[in-house]
């Protein structure tokens, strides 16, 4: 059981880590998609089927497309795709900060005794999720719907070019 988890974790972490270090943005994005798929696999392992498929549908299906389009829209030549190397100072400081956070977190996790609950995998059926979404969390569902609509409209407004700026934009 744990072996499967470790494999999933290693694949996910590896994909994510490599993605964060690659120079080629498209490769980074695609590897991140692999990492998201790994997260979805973790959800499957944990018995949250619906969440796993939702993760795939949203991240692998939709967010990835947005990312790829953004990458393609924000480059002017092929050379732009490989980003300029970052300053070593920032990288080192980033590693130090990230490592510190990681150390603290892992230390805390290991140090904290945790009572483990039920060993059989809890199941949550789609029906239960539906009932909860429409019942207990109906207000949240509506709010999230409004949020998504507004966010997407806002994204369109932000991303669509002003007509007046067109003359400047054409290289």
């Amino acid at each position: 059981m744990n072996a499967v988890l470790i494999v999933i974790a290693l694949v996910t972490l590896g994909a994510a880590a490599v993605a964060m270090t690659l120079r080629n943005l498209i490769h980074s994005a695609l590897l991140l998609i692999a990492s998201w798929a790994g997260v979805a696999a973790f959800y499957l392992w944990a018995g949250a089927e619906f969440v796993a498929f939702a993760e795939i549908l949203v991240y692998v299906g939709a967010v990835s497309m947005v990312v790829l389009f953004a990458v393609l829209l924000t480059r002017r030549s092929r050379a732009d795709l490989t980003v300029t190397p970052d300053s070593a100072g920032r990288a080192i400081s980033g590693f130090i900060a990230g490592g510190a956070v990681c150390g603290v977190l892992v230390g805390a996790i290991v140090a904290t005794p945790m009572g483990v609950g039920s060993s059989p995998t809890p199941t949550v059926t789609v029906k239960q999720i539906g009932v909860q979404l429409m019942g207990t969390h109906a207000a949240s569902l509506l709010i999230v719907g409004v949020l998504l609509t507004v966010a997407l409209l806002g994204a369109i407004v932000i991303a669509s070019a002003d007509r007046t700026d067109d003359s400047e934009d054409t290289p």
């Binding site: 498209i26 490769h27 695609l30 998609i33 089927e49 619906f50 498929f53 939702a54 795939i56 549908l57 692998v60 299906g61 939709a62 990835s64 497309m65 790829l68 393609l72 059926t125 789609v126 029906k127």
Partner: protein, 407 residues
């Protein structure tokens, strides 16, 4: 797979019995694994063969529609008989395997290699949740429909990879167009099956098939397609499926006469064949899902025909739908990309949303008196027909037969 109920007819149980005969002696963890492998192997084998012969059938039918015989010359090796060109697919396979695989110099080699593989993998993944017969579901999932479309959505990624990895600006642009089309039609596709989930109250494919069991008056099956909302949903689903599987008349992504096959321009040999295969698999999977959602799955249309095994019914329906795909391809010319996206956003999406509302009306009227039961038919038919006519008018406004003034 679940062990077959013993009350079923022998033929009905035959596949499961056969499998159990093979794997029955294995100890438990291995047995599950081998069973799964058998299922995978069967799916790959059957659908691979089906793919091969569908390509042949497609070419033959296209030929017949155009009053020509279609491919009929490939002989069976060694006996040198033609049998109407039945061995054509194998010849094609050998050809594509032996053709030179050209990779452009500047291409992103890894992605160029990965794209067809990914596409095929995602297409095959979708086969996992379709119930092919009574007790013949490879994977029994609670959120099966969601899984199906999640896996289907991932194919867009492969299209992008193909276009981008080719390092060809036409490939890239065509891939963008293909993505625009796929995303546009994803929406009506998803919206068209939501009514089914609403009525059946489940996302599980087997449960959806079970929801369509039985006959009204003993001869009208309870299939979703025989309701106003179900028929509308089925039509929308099939139209969107045409576009999702890049089939004519929505085959703009690979329009060979205009775009030299779009994102596949730089692909040749077996990689191209893999794309081809993935597209046919996608079409088969979508047809299978359409059967499950709307056409009663593997259920027989009439009570006295139940003696025919369920998997044969599924196969028959699948072939009928595939024939529909081919027939449509033989009939309609290709749409322009702007017509295509406009059709999706201004016609299919609103219609699918209205159909969703229609379904709600239907289900609200269902648990009332007999009069309401009867009244919901014309009411729901009107709810979907009126927008259809109005939106159709709007869509085809200004379209008239072309006048050739100088010809």
């Amino acid at each position: 797979m679940i062990a077959a109920a013993t009350t079923d007819a022998f033929l009905e149980r035959a596949p499961v019995l056969l499998r159990d005969a093979v794997t029955g002696f294995l100890p438990e963890p291995w047995r599950t694994l081998v069973n799964a492998l058998i299922a995978v192997g069967l799916i790959l084998g059957i659908f691979g063969t089906l793919f091969a012969f569908i390509t042949l059938a497609e070419r033959k039918i296209l030929g017949r529609v155009q009053n020509r015989p279609g491919p009929n010359r490939a002989p069976i090796p060694f006996i040198n008989k033609r049998f109407f060109g039945l061995s054509q697919p194998f010849a094609d396979g050998v050809k594509s395997l032996t053709k030179e695989d050209i990779v452009p110099r500047d291409a992103d080699k890894v992605l160029h290699y990965l794209a067809p593989v990914a596409l095929l993998a995602f297409s095959i993944l979708t086969f996992a949740v379709i119930p092919y017969g009574r007790n013949l579901v490879p994977v029994e999932l609670d959120a099966a429909v969601l899984y199906f479309f999640a896996a289907g959505a991932a194919t867009e990624l492969a299209v992008f990879m193909a276009g981008w990895a080719s390092r060809n600006k036409y490939s890239l642009l065509a891939a963008m167009r293909a993505l625009a089309q796929l995303i546009s039609y994803e929406l009506p596709l998803l919206l068209s099956w939501v009514p089914v989930v609403l009525i059946a109250g489940t996302l599980s494919t087997t449960a959806i098939v079970d929801a369509q069991a039985g006959w009204k008056f003993g001869f009208i099956p309870h299939w979703h397609v025989f309701t106003p909302w179900g028929f509308a949903g089925f039509v929308i689903f099939m139209v969107a499926a045409l576009a999702e599987s890049n089939r004519s008349p929505f085959d703009t992504p690979e329009a060979e006469s205009e775009l030299i096959a779009g994102h596949l321009t730089e692909y040749s040999g077996f990689k191209y064949a893999l794309f081809f295969m993935a597209e046919y698999f996608g079409m088969l999977a979508l047809s299978g899902m359409a059967i499950t959602l709307f056409l009663g799955g593997w259920r027989s249309p009439l009570p006295f025909l139940e003696f025919i095994p369920s998997y044969l019914w599924f196969g028959g329906k699948l072939l009928a739908l595939i024939f529909g795909f081919i027939w449509i391809r033989a009939t309609f010319p290709r749409l322009r990309i702007d017509q295509l996206t406009r059709f999706a956003w201004k016609f299919l999406v609103p219609l699918a949303l209205i159909n969703l509302g229609n379904t709600i009306v239907w289900s609200l009227m269902s648990n009332s008196s007999a009069l309401m039961q009867l009244a919901r038919w014309p009411v729901c038919a009107a709810i979907i027909l009126v927008p259809f006519v109005v939106l159709g008018r709007k869509l085809s406004a200004g379209v008239a037969p072309r006048i050739y003034r100088y010809a």
